[in-house]
């Protein structure tokens, strides 16, 4: 004998009016899954922009928390100082267009009935980037009465602005150290020059595939290994020429030593 009854219970409706914003670090990521290096990227004018291009746009994905609205709602970004030792913080108007620049106002909006949006960070190619080095722009959300910053784990985004070759995210994602040795900007420049390929995130991604959740392998292992051999041989040839040239007299070098394509075991 089975006794089946049904009852209804009134549940409280969601009534919290507070709305918040977070940066999108990755699909399906929880706060517990956040690791160092997430929520950051770099934009290198040398790598990512055309020659002579003096400003560029980096788009960041932002998610809302709380109720939707049928109407669009403004959001506000603001810079926070990065206090890491050695870091040079970006300057608004010099390295990036200030977030309160009126011409960008229409782009800092969450559209109606949306829980996500892409917002622009307009970066500027100041001469100091090449001469003095990279700057860091650490961004969070300013409480503008419409939105405030959400979970602290997802509340900041760090953008490194550069005018030299910087390590593409894909380099670590696909463990290129295992194939081409430790990253160096001079090495990177040589790879681009010798192959006439961009060796940016987009190009590197074409060489790999995801064979299991979060695990990547070269589409053709032998081809990547061959590239490593080829780079090493080309380096050896050019180094011989450079040493023999009295006007140069030295091998290709990074800041910390000679360029070396020797693969690093386990990518570290």
């Amino acid at each position: 004998m089975l006794l089946a009854t049904a009852c209804e219970k009134d549940l409280p409706k969601f009534s919290d009016e507070e709305c918040m914003l977070t940066f999108h670090y990755g699909d399906g990521l929880t706060t517990a899954g956040v690791k160092d290096g997430m929520g950051s990227r770099s934009h290198s004018f040398k790598l990512n922009s055309a020659e002579g291009q003096m400003r560029d746009t980096v788009w960041l994905r932002v998610n809302t928390m709380g109720k939707l609205s049928a109407d669009s709602r403004p959001l506000a970004l603001m810079q926070v100082e990065d206090t890491t030792q050695g870091v040079v913080n970006a300057v608004a108007g010099k390295h990036y267009v200030a977030f309160d620049e009126p011409s960008l106002a229409t782009l800092y909006q969450v559209p109606g009935d949306s829980a996500a949006v892409k917002v622009p960070v307009v970066v500027l190619r100041d001469a100091s980037l090449e001469a003095e080095g990279d700057v860091v722009l650490k961004i969070t959300f300013r409480d503008n009465g419409w939105f405030k910053a959400g979970y602290p784990e997802f509340a900041t985004y760090t953008l490194t602005i550069s005018d030299r070759l910087t390590k593409p995210e894909a380099w670590d994602k696909f463990s290129l150290n295992s194939y081409f040795g430790t990253y160096g900007p001079q090495k990177h420049e040589l790879m681009i020059k010798w192959t006439e390929k961009s060796w940016d995130d987009e190009y590197i991604s074409t060489l790999f595939y995801e064979y299991f959740q979060g695990y990547f392998a070269p589409k053709d292992e032998a081809y990547i290994a061959y590239l490593g051999q080829w780079f090493a041989e080309r380096l050896e040839e050019e180094n011989e020429e450079r040493l023999a040239n009295p006007e140069i007299g030295k091998v290709w070098e990074e800041e910390d030593g000679p360029v070396d394509f020797t693969p690093v075991a386990n990518g570290y």
Binding site: M1, L2, L3, A4, Y209, Y211, A217, P218, K219, D220, E221, A222, Y223, A225, Y226, Q229, W230
Partner: protein
């Protein structure tokens, strides 16, 4: 309180005495069949008791292989009518055939399903490497299931044999390559041939098309002085050996395979190899480095004497490799190499657990001076040799040599011997006999470590017999990691010998 109960009226109008739909049982068909693509016609006639032929409609369907999965089998009708006479014009692979008998009046049907293993004319059998009368390289093929020999495959397919003497031949399982019709990555069993001074070719055993040669195997240009020696499969990798070193790739199919790989290899590196390649630990292979005069593992290590070894040592710097083999006995794996040292003698080197565990100077044994040598791969620690056309068996455990008799050995000079096996399909001692410009091969089953009874297979050909290799198609996970599990589990025997 609610009470739940149900009741059903049995109102069977489906299977009645009149239509007997429940009795449509399709019988009289085999569980497993095989066919050679583009050569066979599959002829079968089912039996359905209790029904006249004109009461039933027969349809035959197929799935698997180049077709979809079972759920869509009705899309692939191959025949209508009770007597199947289906010309098998399919890609090689494993298929399932369904015979469906439908009662015309009621529409109810019974069906039975059986497997169809489709091979090609060259994909499952023994390749014979031989030297032609004019000193060139040619192949014969023996289909042991059909007991049919095809001679001079290279001339048949390419108009001529390969220029130069044969040096070596190895099967290369699940060799990745690009399908020339679809320009997509695929894999098949290849046959590696080394010939002439430094030439080689890998042929696709499906259709004898050329998979790779000097111009195409590497991404880089093969150096003029590179001498390819061998290729071999173990676990999930295919290895390549030349005088320049070694390299490897993942096999096709399986967990580690990439659908994007082209099958080209990276330039070989490390210690140069030789034709003497053998098992080691299931994941890696051992090999004799002709250039460095040492035993090497494909992971780059030199194979060393075990800790505490105090026995005879081989002067490797003066040694020449003679033969190699692998004995497996319920999980015990012993890999051995034979070396000749000029002015000194012959040494038997035994590898166990990845080190040189023992070395023996062979003096009194016939094995010490034999030219024709073979090892026993499965369930027996023996090395066979032929001296003055007499077969001998050397027991590695007891260090005793025994003369063996062989029934109906073809007349002539024994010039070749090998123990060829493939999983549990067969285990033969293969003996090659030369009579001038003709050879005869006799394959004997083994019992108690010696040839048993009359030869199971005998076939002939012209030319000087050099080597036999067995080829069979492999699919993604079957077998899983060939030859790996023999080193991991007592119950797992080797898949094939090297």
């Amino acid at each position: 309180m609610a009470c739940l109960s149900g009741c059903f009226d049995d109102d069977s109008t489906v299977a009645t005495e009149a239509n007997r739909a429940h009795e449509i049982k399709v019988e009289g068909l085999p569980q497993d069949t095989s066919a050679v693509a583009f050569s066979s016609v599959l002829e079968l006639t089912p039996v359905v008791e209790g029904f006249a032929d004109d009461e039933l409609l027969f349809n035959w369907y197929i799935y698997g292989g180049q077709f979809g999965q079972k759920g869509e089998y009705r899309k692939n009708k191959i025949w209508e009518g009770k007597k199947l006479a289906y010309p098998v014009e399919l890609k090689i692979g494993k298929y399932s055939v369904i015979c469906e008998a439908t009662h015309k009046e009621t529409g109810y049907f019974g069906l039975v399903e059986f497997s169809l293993d489709v091979t090609s004319a060259f994909s499952n059998g023994f390749y014979v490497l031989k030297e032609t009368a004019d000193g060139n390289t040619e192949l014969d093929f023996y289909n042991y299931q059909e007991k049919i020999t095809r001679n001079d495959l290279l001339t048949e397919n390419y108009g001529a044999s390969l220029n130069g003497k044969p040096r070596n031949m190895n099967p290369v399982y699940k060799k990745i390559h690009m399908d020339s019709e679809t320009a997509t990555s695929t894999y098949a069993t290849g046959m590696f041939l080394a010939y002439g001074k430094n030439n080689f070719a890998v042929y696709n055993t499906v259709d004898m098309s050329l998979m790779f040669d000097r111009s195409s195997l590497f991404y880089a240009t093969m150096e003029e002085d590179e001498i390819p020696y061998a290729m071999a499969t173990t676990g999930e990798y295919n290895h390549y050996f030349s005088n320049k070193g070694i390299c490897y790739e993942s096999v096709g199919g399986g967990f580690f395979a990439s659908e994007y790989a082209t099958g080209k290899l990276v330039t070989p590196e490390g210690c140069g190899g030789s034709t003497f390649v053998q098992a080691f630990n299931g994941r890696e292979l051992s090999y004799w480095s002709e250039s460095e005069h040492c035993l090497m593992c494909t992971d780059g290590r030199e194979i060393e004497y075990r800790d505490g070894y105090a026995g005879v040592r081989v002067p490797f710097e003066k040694a020449e490799a003679v033969a190699t083999g692998w004995n497996w006995n319920s999980g015990d794996n012993a890999v051995w190499y034979l070396f000749d040292v000029k002015g000194d003698g012959r040494y038997l080197v035994i590898l166990e657990k990845e080190t040189i565990s023992e070395v023996r100077r062979l003096d009194a044994e016939k094995l010490a001076s034999a030219v024709v040598i073979a090892g026993k791969g499965l369930r027996g620690s023996f090395i066979y040799s032929v001296k003055d056309n007499q077969l001998y068996r050397y027991s590695m455990k007891e260090k005793v040599e025994t003369a063996l008799s062989v029934a109906s050995l073809p007349a002539g000079t024994v010039t070749y011997m090998a123990n060829l096996f493939y999983e549990t399909a067969f285990d033969y001692l293969v003996i090659g006999v030369q009579n001038g410009g003709k050879y005869t091969v006799a394959m004997y089953e083994m019992q108690g470590g010696q040839p048993f009874g009359e030869p199971k297979h005998t076939f002939e050909g012209t030319g000087i017999l050099k080597k036999l290799c067995y080829a069979i198609p492999m699919s993604d996970y079957s077998p899983m990691s060939p030859n790996l599990y023999a080193f991991l589990y007592d119950w797992a025997s080797p898949t094939f010998p090297y």
